[in-house]
C-alpha cells in the first residue's frame, strides 16, 4: 500500500552501511546482488555478506527470490503400510519476512505484472503470494542505464517506484532512501535510518538525468487497437522467428515470464510434487497426450511468446505490455532476437 502523505526521504551515510545491513539481517532474511565471475546474481546473503550495489544489473532476473526455478509443493508417502499413504501433504516453507536490497526498479515493477496472474480475486497461487507478501523490496535507482534498457517506453523507468517499498538513490558518499510504502517504513525502523532530509529537488534532477540516459525505445501505443487475428496471421513472423533456436534463455531470464510445469518425483517410497519453470519455447509445453501439438513449429512458439507479452496480456488486463524493458532477453539471446524490433513491427503493422 502506498503511503498517503508526502513521501519521506532519509539520508543513509555509506560509512554506516555495514552496520545498517547487520541491523536488518536481525529481522529479515536478506537477498542482494553478489558478483560471480563477470556477472552479478541475486542470492540470499549470509551473515556479514554485503549486497554489491556497484553493479548494473544481474544476469538473470530476481524473480527466483519469490518464485524459485524448482520448488517443492507437496510431499507424500507411497508405502501402503503407512498412514495416509498416497495423500499429498503440504511441504513446509519459510515465509518469514525477507528483504531484497538493491533490486532495480524494472525488476520490482515486473512483480506487479506477474501478480496479475498469480493473485486474482478468484484464485491465489499460495506459494507466490506468500513469498511476495513476505518480501520488502528495497530498490536501487539506475543512475547509468545501459543501451539495451528501454524501460521508459515499457511502462517503467530508472527511478520507477511502483512495486518498490523503498527506493535507494546512490548520491556518492550517501544514499537517499525514498520511503514508498508502510512495509518500507518498517524496514526503515529496523535498519535505524532516521536522518530525514529534503532532497526532492536533487532526486528529481538525478531522475531526469537518468531518463535522458535511456537511448532505446519501443512503441506500444497501437497494440491495443490491433485485431488479434491480423497480428497473428501477419507475414513478418517467419522472418522474425527464423533465427530462434527455441531455447528457454529469454523466458528464464525474463522477470515477467511466469509459466511453470508440475512434476512428480519419487525416491524409494517417498515422493514429491514440484513445480519448475517452463517455457513456451519448448515443444513439450503444448504437446497433447495424443501426439498432436497445436504449436508444433518454432515459428508458432516464437509468435506465442511475443503475442502473449505484447497483445494478449495487453488485451486481458488493459494495463500495458508484459515487459518492463530490462533488456535481458535482448542481450542474452544467442541469436539476437530482439523484442524491441518485434514490438515496433507489431505496433506499426497494417494488414
Amino acid at each position: 500500500m502506498n503511503l498517503g502523505y508526502t513521501m519521506k526521504v532519509v539520508r543513509i551515510d555509506k560509512k554506516n552501511w555495514v552496520g545498517d545491513i547487520e541491523n536488518l539481517s536481525r529481522s529479515y532474511r536478506l537477498f542482494g546482488p553478489v558478483k560471480d565471475d563477470n556477472f552479478h546474481r541475486f542470492e540470499e546473503l549470509d551473515k556479514d555478506k554485503l549486497p554489491d550495489l556497484d553493479y548494473f544489473n544481474t544476469r538473470l532476473s530476481p524473480k527466483s527470490i519469490v518464485y524459485p526455478q524448482s520448488e517443492t509443493m507437496f510431499e507424500y508417502c507411497l508405502d501402503e503400510r503407512k498412514k495416509d499413504h498416497h495423500v499429498m501433504k503440504e511441504a513446509s516453507k519459510d515465509y518469514s519476512q525477507r528483504a531484497v536490497i538493491g533490486i532495480r526498479p524494472c525488476d520490482a515493477a515486473a512483480f506487479l505484472l506477474v501478480k496479475r496472474n498469480f493473485d486474482t480475486p478468484e484464485c491465489k497461487d499460495p506459494y507466490w503470494v506468500k513469498a511476495y507478501e513476505a518480501t520488502t523490496f528495497v530498490g536501487l535507482a539506475c543512475n547509468n542505464p545501459h543501451s539495451a534498457c528501454f524501460c521508459t517506453t515499457a511502462g517503467c523507468g530508472p527511478f520507477h517506484e511502483d512495486g518498490l517499498d523503498i527506493l535507494l538513490i546512490d548520491a556518492g558518499n550517501h544514499y537517499f532512501a525514498k520511503i514508498i510504502t508502510s512495509k518500507g517504513e518498517n524496514l526503515l525502523k529496523a535498519a535505524g535510518w532516521d536522518t530525514k532530509v529534503d532532497a526532492g529537488k536533487e532526486i528529481e534532477s538525478m531522475k531526469q538525468n537518468a531518463e535522458t540516459g535511456i537511448t532505446s525505445f519501443i512503441a506500444t501505443n497501437k497494440l491495443k487497437d490491433k485485431i488479434t487475428a491480423d497480428l497473428f496471421d501477419a507475414p513478418f513472423w517467419e522472418d522474425m522467428a527464423f533465427a530462434c533456436i527455441n531455447c528457454g534463455t529469454c523466458t528464464y531470464a525474463c522477470p515477467t515470464c511466469w509459466c511453470f510445469d508440475i512434476q512428480d518425483e519419487v525416491h524409494g517410497c517417498s515422493g514429491t510434487r514440484m513445480r519448475n519453470w517452463d517455457s513456451c519455447m519448448y515443444p513439450l509445453f503444448t504437446l497433447h497426450g495424443s501426439g498432436y501439438n497445436p504449436r508444433n513449429t518454432g515459428m508458432q512458439r516464437v509468435r506465442q511468446r511475443f503475442m502473449h507479452k505484447l497483445k494478449y496480456y495487453v488485451d486481458k488486463y488493459d494495463n500495458g505490455i508484459q515487459c518492463v524493458g530490462c533488456g535481458r532477453c535482448v542481450s542474452l539471446c544467442p541469436v539476437n532476437i530482439d523484442i524491441r524490433k518485434i514490438c515496433n513491427t507489431m505496433n506499426s503493422y497494417e494488414k
Binding site: 509443493m73 507437496f74 507424500y76 507411497l78 499413504h85 498416497h86 495423500v87 499429498m88 503440504e90 496472474n117 498469480f118 486474482t120 484464485c123 491465489k124 497461487d125 499460495p126 503470494v129 506468500k130 488479434t228 487475428a229 497473428f232 511466469w258 509459466c259 511453470f260 510445469d261 508440475i262 512434476q263 512428480d264 519419487v266 515422493g271 510434487r273 513445480r275 517452463d278 513456451c280 509445453f285 503444448t286 504437446l287 497433447h288 497426450g289 495424443s290 498432436y292 497445436p294 504449436r295 508458432q300 506465442q304 503475442m307 502473449h308 494478449y312 496480456y313 488485451d315 486481458k316
Partner: protein, 281 residues
C-alpha cells in the same frame, strides 16, 4: 490461504472397462473425507485434475452428473504416463482429485431451450454428465426437446452402453446412436458418420435451439458445415476444447490461446468466441 493445488484424497470405488479395446475405463471415486464432497460442487461440463501420487496429474472431464450423489465418475483413455498408471490401479487404491475446474456448459442460458448434443468417441464423458443432469426428474421440465447424436467407430467402442439403451427407450430424450460401420446383423441403430446423422436427425437451428459438440477434431471439422447448413448461429454452437493443461486454474500458462486460458476461461466456448481466437487448438 487455501491451496488450490492440493488434491482431495479419494478412493477408487469401482472400475468399469468400457470398450472392447480396453483403452477406456470408468473410475467411480469416493471422497475419503465426506466434507470434501461438499466442497467439490460442480456443474456438467467441468473437469478435474486426477492426481496419481508419484506420476502426476491429468485433466479429465467429469462424467458423473451433479445430480448423482455419493461418488464422482471419470472415464479415462489410456494415452500417457498418468493414464497408463491409472489403468493399472485397482479398486480400493487412493488417488487425488482437484477441482472442479473450468467453466461448464452455460446452463443458465440453456434452460428452456432445445438441446442438440453431438458427440463422438470417448469425448462423450461430459456429455453423459449433461444428459444425466437434464434427465433428472427435477431438471427435465426446464428443457424443451433433447436430441443426442452419439457415434463411435463400432458398437463395441460406445461408452456407457447400458445407459444408452435405457435412453433409447425413454420418451424424455431422442437418441440417435450411430457407428461408422458394423457387421452385427442385430445392430438396430444408425450406421454412418456423425456429421451425416446430424444432417438427418438434428433440429434446425433457431433462437430456441443450442448445439453442444464434443468429439475428435475430424468430427468437429465435418459437423460444423452441417450445422451452418442447418442455420445454427455461431453463438448457438457450444464446444469444449482440448488442450494440454497442468495447473487447471489459469496460472501455469500452457493452455493460453489469445487472451484466454482454456483451463479457466474454458474449456467450453461458443463457436462465436472461438472464431475470434487464434486458431491454435
Amino acid at each position: 490461504m487455501q491451496n488450490p493445488y492440493l488434491p482431495y484424497p479419494v478412493r477408487i470405488d469401482e472400475i468399469v472397462t468400457e470398450t472392447e479395446d480396453k483403452n477406456l475405463k470408468t473410475f467411480k471415486l469416493v471422497f475419503l473425507n465426506p466434507a470434501d464432497e461438499e466442497k467439490f460442487y460442480y456443474k456438467a461440463g467441468q473437469f478435474a485434475e486426477l492426481s496419481v501420487a508419484g506420476k502426476g496429474e491429468i485433466p479429465i472431464g467429469i462424467a458423473s452428473s451433479p445430480t448423482e450423489k455419493g461418488y464422482i465418475m471419470f472415464t479415462v483413455n489410456k494415452v500417457g504416463l498418468v493414464t497408463t498408471h491409472l489403468h493399472s490401479m485397482k479398486e480400493g487404491d487412493v488417488i487425488g482429485i482437484r477441482g472442479p475446474l473450468g467453466n461448464s456448459y452455460p446452463w443458465d442460458i440453456l434452460q428452456g431451450k432445445n438441446i442438440v448434443i453431438i458427440g463422438g468417441g470417448f469425448a462423450f464423458t461430459t456429455l453423459r454428465s449433461s444428459i444425466v443432469y437434464m434427465l433428472d426428474p427435477v431438471m427435465r421440465p426446464k428443457f424443451k426437446d433433447i436430441h443426442v447424436i452419439y457415434g463411435a467407430r463400432s458398437p463395441e467402442m460406445l461408452l456407457y452402453r447400458d445407459e444408452l439403451a435405457g435412453w433409447e427407450n425413454s420418451s424424455d430424450i431422442n437418441m440417435h446412436i450411430t457407428v461408422d460401420a458394423t457387421d452385427d446383423p442385430d445392430w438396430k441403430y444408425n450406421t454412418g458418420f456423425v456429421p451425416t446423422i446430424t444432417e438427418q436427425k438434428a433440429l434446425p437451428g433457431n433462437a430456441e435451439t443450442y448445439a453442444i459438440i464434443c468429439g475428435p477434431p475430424i468430427m468437429i471439422k465435418f459437423t460444423q458445415p452441417v450445422l451452418d447448413k442447418l442455420d445454427y448461429a455461431h453463438d448457438h454452437i457450444i464446444m469444449s476444447l482440448e488442450m494440454r493443461m497442468k495447473c487447471g486454474i489459469g496460472m501455469c500458462g500452457r493452455c493460453n490461446i489469445g487472451k484466454e486460458f482454456v483451463c479457466k476461461d474454458g474449456p467450453v466456448f461458443t463457436l462465436a468466441q472461438l472464431d475470434k481466437m487464434p486458431k491454435e487448438f
